[in-house]
Symmetry: C2
Subunit: 390 residues, 2 copies
């Protein structure tokens, strides 16, 4: 048990450009870094909304040459990353502009890491080697969720084998991120709910720690969680509520840029348990988290009942003196929060049964047990999937 | 009246290296930027504590050539800045290592801004011109207070005329800051109290705003204020309490790096009113703030009683339904908090009378009224000084 604040390094050089209309300045911002870029995006939504046209106009006005690669899908694929790397090499590209959400940004970061590397880009994810001298990445964010817009990490799915793995480097943080909440006005309510669950989970993974005496960070975690709860409900109710969408966008960025994890051991078991789920069933990451987070909480809370009681009291305003009761009420409130956004909180609700629990648990605990708050092996993970069944 | 979150740009590229023993790696960190630096510090304390020797050893081990300039005083002087600029030019220096607190860091930033500039460095403070291409600055922090270790701003006193003015540029943010809470163990309790008042005031200046719907930032401001209150009391009671000093050091950095001011208009009247006080009487900045902040609050609270009531309730746990009463109780609690640290909360307590109120008020309101929460002219400022008299 660590008894006081851990040493830490925090380096978040991403320039945040936040607010209405900010995407129209993207050309000038890119110009500071490059004149020959890859424009990377997902499906057709950025063309439907007119965002694509505004971006292209701004790039052309700034005299920036660009190649295009669209078609990134949720749970972004290694094959797309390889295609991007090839294109960057062929065109002598040194900058990638990601226009989209976490999937597009993660795909961009992986391309940026892989392009200058002689070996196979998957090596960064299997931890065979570390990222060195990646290309630069800039972002125009279109969904508040993953926090990849200011984070050092990326998650890619290798479709040969269905494995979803992460890599991270401070060098992979975007050089700039343009955050215009108006770009989220056209999102389906379901997407807003998934995104809210994702950012909330990013804080849960940092909040439940064995490091004692990390008071500033604890307070800030609770502060941002409360704000996500309030504003996600408003944004789902009315996706054109600028204030709610703005708070959610900024909360999602702060949730994952590292500042809420300073000086403490983080957990990350729930994310790994969910990654196997979305790799196996190709569900949205946020949908999986809304199921896994409460199940994980039920399985581990006795490890530090007082901490879970504090969570219930400070995040959900549970008014209960008894720690055990307050802890359980906090977990119940977490489920209610996800439900209030229209999310399922059981695997059954998602139409998923128990047939692959053993296989997913083995993969999640490979090569070693996961989680720092409580270390979980394959046997534990099966039990968590069962608790999630509903 | 602005009704929703303002657009903003936030760029905090300072690499934070936090924890026990971290200063021993300073040579390697500097090496990434320069081989020929200015080592800038204050009085004799860094030599007495052995910090100076550790820094010099680390620099020498990394093969870094350095010139030295010590003797920075609180309310750092323009004459010292000019001396530093001359030295940098003579020795072809391109990096300044600040070992000390806010005064040393601010002096370093001003030298860094002035060295490559053809005109007079005071031009940046009179706003005649803006900072371009400053030298790089690195920091080893020895007191939790000013937040200059990650901020874009600096405050310098021009002793010809006794004016204390600020300048700011994102280019002036240090490239790295080494924050070892152990370095604050030897501080006099008074200094810890001054520092705590200073960082608390940095949040007050951001918290009281006319911008509505800045929920994430409001929540985070309150979170860090609560943490400062708790931990400053502990640190003053026992300066060798690592946990308390660590929280205070991180809180002081977060309080002023910009993240608690995102998306909102900030105030800064109290700082300007205090700057005239410490320029006139050469008192510690934190000592002046503990007097000015409550007086400012009493003068302006009716402008937004509900906001002050929220402050009382959320920061000081005031349990009172009536807004007017809760607001006044919050202000009273602010005074009690400063008193609990051993600080005076009246000018009389500091031995200062009213003889220079008119003169200081005129200077503070020059060239224009100050404050954004409530705009204050010289007539208002005199009244605030009078409220502060006690």
């Amino acid at each position: 048990m660590i008894t006081d604040m851990d040493n830490f390094t925090l380096h978040m050089p991403t320039k945040v450009i936040f607010g209405r209309g900010t995407e129209t300045g993207v050309g000038q911002e890119v110009r500071k870094h490059s004149g020959n870029i890859l424009l990377h995006y997902g499906g057709g939504s950025i063309k439907r909304t007119g965002l694509y046209d505004r971006v292209v106009e701004s790039l052309e006005k700034a005299g920036i040459k660009f190649a295009e690669l669209g078609g990134v899908v949720p749970n972004p694929r290694l094959s797309m990353v390889r295609k991007g790397i090839e294109l960057c090499r062929k065109e002598g590209i040194d900058f990638i502009l990601a226009v989209g959400g976490g999937s597009v940004i993660d795909s961009s970061k992986a391309i940026a890491a892989g392009a200058p590397y002689e070996g196979d880009v998957w090596d960064f994810f299997t931890k065979k080697t570390v990222i060195k001298n990646p290309l630069k990445v800039g972002v125009i964010l279109t969904i508040s969720a993953a926090g990849s817009e200011m984070s050092p990490s990326m998650v890619i799915t290798n479709e040969e084998g269905g494995r979803k793995l992460s890599a991270r480097s401070d060098l992979s943080r975007p050089v700039f991120s343009i955050l215009n909440p108006e770009l989220t006005f056209t999102l389906p309510k379901k997407q807003i709910a998934y995104g809210s669950a994702d950012m909330f989970a990013h804080i849960v993974e940092r909040y439940f720690t064995n490091t004692k005496n990390v008071d500033v960070t604890d307070e800030m975690c609770e502060a941002v969680m409360r704000s996500i709860i309030r504003n996600s409900k408003k944004a789902v109710a009315d996706p054109k509520d600028y204030d709610a969408q703005a708070e959610l966008m900024w909360a999602g960025t702060v949730a994952h840029n590292g500042i809420l994890g300073t000086g403490r051991e983080e957990d990350w078991a729930s994310h790994k348990i969910e990654h196997e789920l979305s790799a196996a069933y190709d569900i949205a990451h946020g949908a999986g988290l809304a199921v896994i987070i409460p199940a994980w909480m039920k399985y581990v809370y006795k490890h530090d009942t007082a901490r879970f009681a504090r969570y219930g009291r400070n995040v959900f305003h549970v008014f209960e003196k008894d720690d055990e009761k307050a802890a359980l009420m906090g977990i119940k409130e977490t489920e209610k929060f996800f439900s209030s956004l229209g999310l399922e909180t059981t695997l059954k609700g998602l139409g998923i049964g128990g047939s692959r629990f053993e296989e997913m648990s083995r993969l999640a605990a490979k090569p070693e047990p996961i989680g720092n708050f409580v270390s979980l092996d394959a046997g534990d993970i099966v039990k968590i999937y069962r608790l999630a069944l509903g």
